[in-house]
Amino acid sequence: MPIASQRTMRFLGRSYMAFVFTPEEPIIDWLAQLDSWLARSPGFFGGRPVVLDLVNVKLHKPGMVHLVACLLERGIRVIGLEGADPAQLGPDLPPLLSGRAVNSNELIALARPEQPAAAPPKQPASLLIDRPVRSGQSIIHPEGDVSVLGSVGSGAEIVAGGSIHIYGTLRGRAMAGHMGNSRARIFCQKIEAELLAINGYYRTAEEIDASYRGRPMQAWLNDNVMMITALN
């Protein structure tokens, strides 16, 4: 008892990366689209935090509860809502989040609390990975580019706020422009990717022209359509 009462309780703030879903009406169609995505990448969102941005849909409370339940059925757990009317919320719905883009300097400062970030760099820092990224590993860099000196294995993934450069074979997933940057690109020495995504627009392995396999390529967005071209 005395030991416990001497301890002061601390509540630390911490930022997390989450996937943001922005459903559109009709919701039935949006869910069907999500289902076809999940059929190609089963379990992709399992265990990952998801935020539901409801700006594009007008839902009352029962509609929101139903939508959250529909996602849960698909193994997707909603940790927070955005763009919803606060009057409609209640204890049976996830809390409303203030939609503020996460600042990568803040993430770095949180990761190393002992070194206060005195002069945060103006440019988003790029991240260099000087070894292969192995199956099951996930590199998440919310702002800036990621370069990998090696291959990205099947079942591995790179998520970057900026562009992704892979000086090896891309066999796993690459998601560039993750925080809403449609100018981000993906480059790799050899493509055998499971998934390419830029700013949420994606292509799965079957949708990548087989003639590119094993060749150097780049992917970019042209009016929200992903383009893939050989680099040589």
């Binding site: 070894r131 292969p132 990224v133 192995r134 199956s135 099951g136 590993q137 090696g150 291959s151 294995g153 099947s154 079942g155 591995a156 074979t169 066999r171």
Partner: protein, 271 residues
């Protein structure tokens, strides 16, 4: 101070236990003191391949729980006096393996032996992580097929993050051992080529062990293949891998199709 090796793979049935026994025996034949440790609690196998199943009294978990002393649980090989086995339990609960217990046992073995070779269970769960936890080096056993290679890639990632060495900021040495290599099937494109496997895993190659009936025959008589049939393709390939582990540079031979063809002709004539 001895060297601690983990023989690991992710996938089951690829040849970890066969490899542990064969390399352990080959190193002991070269005069080194060796202990092979079975981490596959509940599915122990190494005692059978070593031909010591009827001599198991105490096991790794007994030692960890303080029921037996290490010296009581260690079994000396009947053929090679510098080769020892620390068996796993067939009956006790996997959860009885604790991180602290494993650390103490490995530290004690490291004092007593030149080589401590840990036979990992399949999977990427607790048992596999405990088997690799205190290793200095890893032998990643891979068959030349897509699912085995992908699991090995996953295990390599874990070797770089979940081992004590990785946590201390240093790296664990990694050696790739391709086993059950069938030259005929590789030629027909039914298996990945050696080059494909090396390209995907980008890890230094320790050896290539051919698919061979001699492995099954050896395990049926309870002897590591390096003892049961030293002149077989698999026996020789394992012996060469053991010399590479000792730091010798031995030219790498790909088990070639000529020998495969010879086997086929011989087989036909005998039939």
């Amino acid at each position: 101070m001895g060297k601690v090796l983990v023989v690991t793979s992710g996938k089951g049935g690829v040849g970890k236990t066969t490899t542990t026994a064969a390399l352990g025996a080959a190193l002991a034949q070269a005069g080194e003191t060796v202990v092979v440790v079975d981490f596959d609690v509940g599915l122990r196998n190494l005692d059978l391949v070593m031909g010591a199943e009827r001599r198991v009294v105490f096991d790794l978990i007994n030692v960890i729980q303080g029921v037996a002393k290490l010296s009581q649980a260690l079994i000396r090989d009947k053929r090679l006096e510098t080769l020892w086995l620390l068996p796993a339990s067939q009956t006790r609960d996997k959860d009885a393996l604790t991180e602290e217990g494993v650390r103490q046992v490995i530290a004690e073995l490291r004092e007593r032996f030149d080589w401590v070779i840990c036979d990992s269970p399949a999977g990427i769960e607790r048992g596999a992580i405990l088997a690799m936890r205190y290793a200095d080096a890893a032998i990643i056993v891979t068959n030349p097929e897509v699912s085995s290679v992908r699991d090995s890639d996953r295990i390599i990632g874990m070797l770089d993050s979940k081992t004590e060495r990785a946590e201390n900021g240093s790296r664990i040495d990694k050696h790739l051992l391709i086993t059950r290599y069938d030259a005929g099937r590789a030629q027909r494109g039914e298996m990945l080529s050696i080059d494909d496997v090396l390209e995907i895993l980008s890890t230094p190659l320790l050896g290539i062990i051919p698919e061979s009936q001699d492995v099954l025959r050896a395990s049926n008589v309870g002897a590591p293949v390096t003892l049961a049939n030293q002149l077989s393709g698999a026996g020789r390939a394992y012996a060469e891998a053991a010399r590479r582990l000792q730091g010798e540079s031995v030219a790498m031979t790909v088990p070639n199709q000529k020998r495969g063809l010879f086997d086929k002709l011989f087989g036909r004539r005998a039939a």
